[in-house]
């Protein structure tokens, strides 16, 4: 009996001992795990502006952020994406958080719907879906910072998308129901994640148009509405138009031109500094505010590993048309082996204008113009998916 058992064991070991076969099977059942940290060295001349001096600060070497992504299929019909983040600048004291955590059902639903639920970057505009490590520039456009916040439109929610019946043209409508946490953060209000939800809704309609073998164009329009002031229950509405053109004749060369325009309309009881609006009688009043912002950039890849680009920014404040900023940046990238390793250098200027008061008490416009130079290093450990458009 022992001999028979031993023989069976030996036969089983021989049958299943192919290292390639077993390791491939095990590998294909494991999720894809990737680790992407970003580091920056930054200097700017804004520190001594109040003294009338323009002196570049000592370059500060900082850890910017670490992303850990765990992604895989759950079954033939759905997949899950988990992206954890450790924000800087203190690499030892940082707290691991959830950047995104969602499941997507992409097959088997009626009308070929896609359904996503969890915490995720909503499809509002084009750039909001792209993680910062994949940007060609080192800093977020002003319009995204001011109107969507540092993390972008990233919230708990449910998303449903459908491909519209437009023949051979790819057109997609995505609608999101969001908890509204991201909105509160973006507006500078206290975090409302523990409060009664003030739901937000967003939607994007996009179309993709091939313009020949080497060129493509994507156009989208988005809307977003929610409560930005949970105390007064004041509502905002965003309308956004986005456009991306890409010319890519081969793997060594490409040109991307992309831009977005956002228009904000909101009710508010206070201005950007938190000062309540008062009517002629000195009573608090609600006001309607309309402001906007935009960015446009071009990025040219050449010799496969290099890229050079420029970006223009303009943005008002969400709560005041008198507070506005203009920015310009040029950036250079070096990616010796695709996105496994990336170095970016960016020179930028941001000029902020806001209402102020002179020493004599007369209204003046405060202008603050800061120049910065940023060197950013990124590496990507783990499997690399093909690039989406």
């Amino acid at each position: 009996m022992h001999v028979i058992r031993a023989a069976c064991l030996i036969v089983a070991l021989l049958l299943f001992s192919s290292p390639v076969g077993i390791s491939i099977a095990q590998t294909s059942l494991n999720p894809d795990i990737s680790v992407i940290p970003r580091f920056i060295i930054r200097t700017d001349d804004g520190e001594k502006l109040a003294e009338g001096k323009r002196i570049f600060s000592q370059p500060d070497f900082q850890f910017e952020e670490l992303e850990v992504a765990v992604q895989s299929y759950l079954n033939p019909f759905s997949r899950a994406d988990v992206i954890l983040t450790l924000p800087g600048p203190d690499v030892e004291a940082g707290k691991l958080g959830i950047e995104e955590l969602y499941a997507t059902v992409f097959r088997g639903l009626p009308l070929d719907l896609n359904v996503r639920f969890g915490k995720y970057r909503a499809e509002f505009g084009k750039l909001n879906l792209v993680h910062p490590h994949a940007w060609p520039f080192a800093t977020a456009p002003l319009v995204q910072e001011r109107f969507l916040g540092e993390e972008g439109l990233n919230d708990l929610g449910l998303s449903v998308s459908v491909l519209l019946p437009t023949g051979d043209v790819y057109t997609k409508l995505t609608v999101d129901l969001l908890r509204g946490n991201a909105v509160a953060g973006a507006a500078g209000m206290p975090d409302t994640s523990g409060r009664k939800p003030a739901y937000a809704n967003s939607a994007r309609l996009m179309g993709f148009f091939p313009l020949g073998d080497f060129s493509d164009l994507e156009i989208g329009v988005s809307g977003f509405t929610g409560i930005h002031d949970p105390y007064e229950r004041d509502r905002f509405w965003y309308a956004n138009a986005d456009c991306k053109y890409k010319y890519r004749p081969d793997t060594y060369t490409s040109l991307v031109v992309q831009g977005e325009l956002l228009v904000n309309a909101r009710h508010a009881h206070q201005d950007a500094s938190g000062t309540p609006f008062l009517d002629a009688s000195g009573n608090p009043e609600k006001r309607s505010i309309t402001t906007s912002g935009l960015y446009v950039y071009a990025d040219y890849q050449f010799l496969k590993v290099f890229s050079i680009g420029a970006r223009y920014d303009w943005a008002q404040s969400p709560s005041s048309a008198d507070v506005r900023s203009r920015g310009a940046a040029v950036f250079f990238g070096y990616y010796p082996v695709e996105e496994t390793l990336g170095l970016r250098v960016q020179a930028a200027n941001v000029t902020d204008r806001s209402p102020g008061v002179s020493p004599a008490g007369t209204p003046v416009e405060d202008v603050r113009s800061v120049n910065s130079i940023t060197l950013q290093a990124v590496f990507s450990l783990g499997p690399h998916k093909a690039h989406p458009f």
């Binding site: 491939i24 590998t27 097959r107 082996v337 458009f389």
Partner: protein, 291 residues
């Protein structure tokens, strides 16, 4: 009577099962599918013949091609790492994705694989379609897939496949005859795309212009290749049309070797209108340079 016959024929045409809608990754697979399927298939493909199949952007327009397809034929062996995202984006629950590598003879299956070795394919070298002896297994896979989609046409598919393979076998004999005088000749290739063709024609790939797969040529490695070409008297540097010719031309200029731009797929050059024409072109060009 004639009117009745015409009416009946029209009725048959109207009620005949529709053609199988096939999308393939490479145009070579599209050619094989047309040869096997005839007018019982409609065929489209994603990667152009002059395009690098390793690096394809995931475009919504590709998802639309798959959205209404019945079959998606792939090379497999992780050549098309971009394919799953396009399949998922197509939202086509009834799409049958077929990997044609199942029964082919595979070369260069690596042991340990990690990123230090460059873009290594962990299941082996995927460029197997460049050995026409592998086409028999691929055609078998295509027949099986088409027959599953349209069982009523299975005998037609098998008949077409048999006729095509007979023609291909005759061409294989011709190509082998042309290349026989060059058995054992050494060549340099840009990427490890030509291992199967070299194995078939008994050529020896002495080195690659890329220091490792997917890594751009470095000055140091280029100098090494120049020394190798000189010492071994290598006559041909084989490069696909989608690779940068700077390093190959530098090697050719320093050594007198010919930079031979050869397509790996149908449509890669104007003359390569189908797979047989592709191999006709490549064999003739190789023979000319190695002479």
């Amino acid at each position: 009577m004639k009117r009745l016959m015409s009416f009946l024929l029209a009725l048959c045409a109207a009620t005949a099962s529709p053609a199988v809608r096939v999308v393939t990754t490479l145009p070579d697979l599209a050619d094989f599918t047309r040869q096997v399927g005839g007018d019982r298939v409609t065929v489209d493909f994603i990667v152009r013949g002059d395009q690098n199949p390793h690096f394809v952007e995931v475009k919504p327009s590709y998802m639309m091609k798959l959205k209404s397809a019945d079959l998606f034929l792939t090379i497999g062996m992780e050549l098309e790492m971009w394919a799953p995202q396009i399949v998922d984006g197509s939202r086509n629950a009834s799409l049958d994705v077929v990997d044609l590598s199942r029964d082919v003879r595979k070369l260069e299956i690596p042991g340990k694989v990690d990123a230090s070795k460059g873009d290594v394919h962990r299941f082996g070298n995927p460029h197997y379609w460049l050995d026409p002896r592998n086409v028999r297994a691929m055609i078998g896979g295509i027949v099986a897939a088409l027959a599953k989609a349209s069982p009523a046409d299975e005998s037609l598919f098998r008949s077409n496949a048999g006729a095509y393979l007979k023609r291909l076998d005759e061409k294989i004999a011709t190509w082998e005859n042309i290349m026989k005088p060059f058995t054992g000749s050494k060549i340099i290739t840009f990427h490890k795309s030509w291992s199967y063709l070299a194995d078939w024609l008994q050529l020896q790939v002495a080195g690659e212009v890329e220091p490792k797969p997917g890594i751009v040529p470095s000055p140091g490695h280029t100098a090494e290749i120049i020394r190798l070409v000189r010492s071994a008297g290598i006559k041909a540097i084989v490069v696909e049309p989608f690779y940068d010719l700077s390093a190959p031309e530098q090697i050719g200029g320093a050594t007198g070797a010919t930079v031979l731009v050869l397509p790996t797929s149908v449509g890669g050059v104007a003359q390569a209108v189908d797979y047989i024409a592709l191999m006709d072109y490549n064999v003739a060009a190789l023979a000319e340079v190695l002479r």
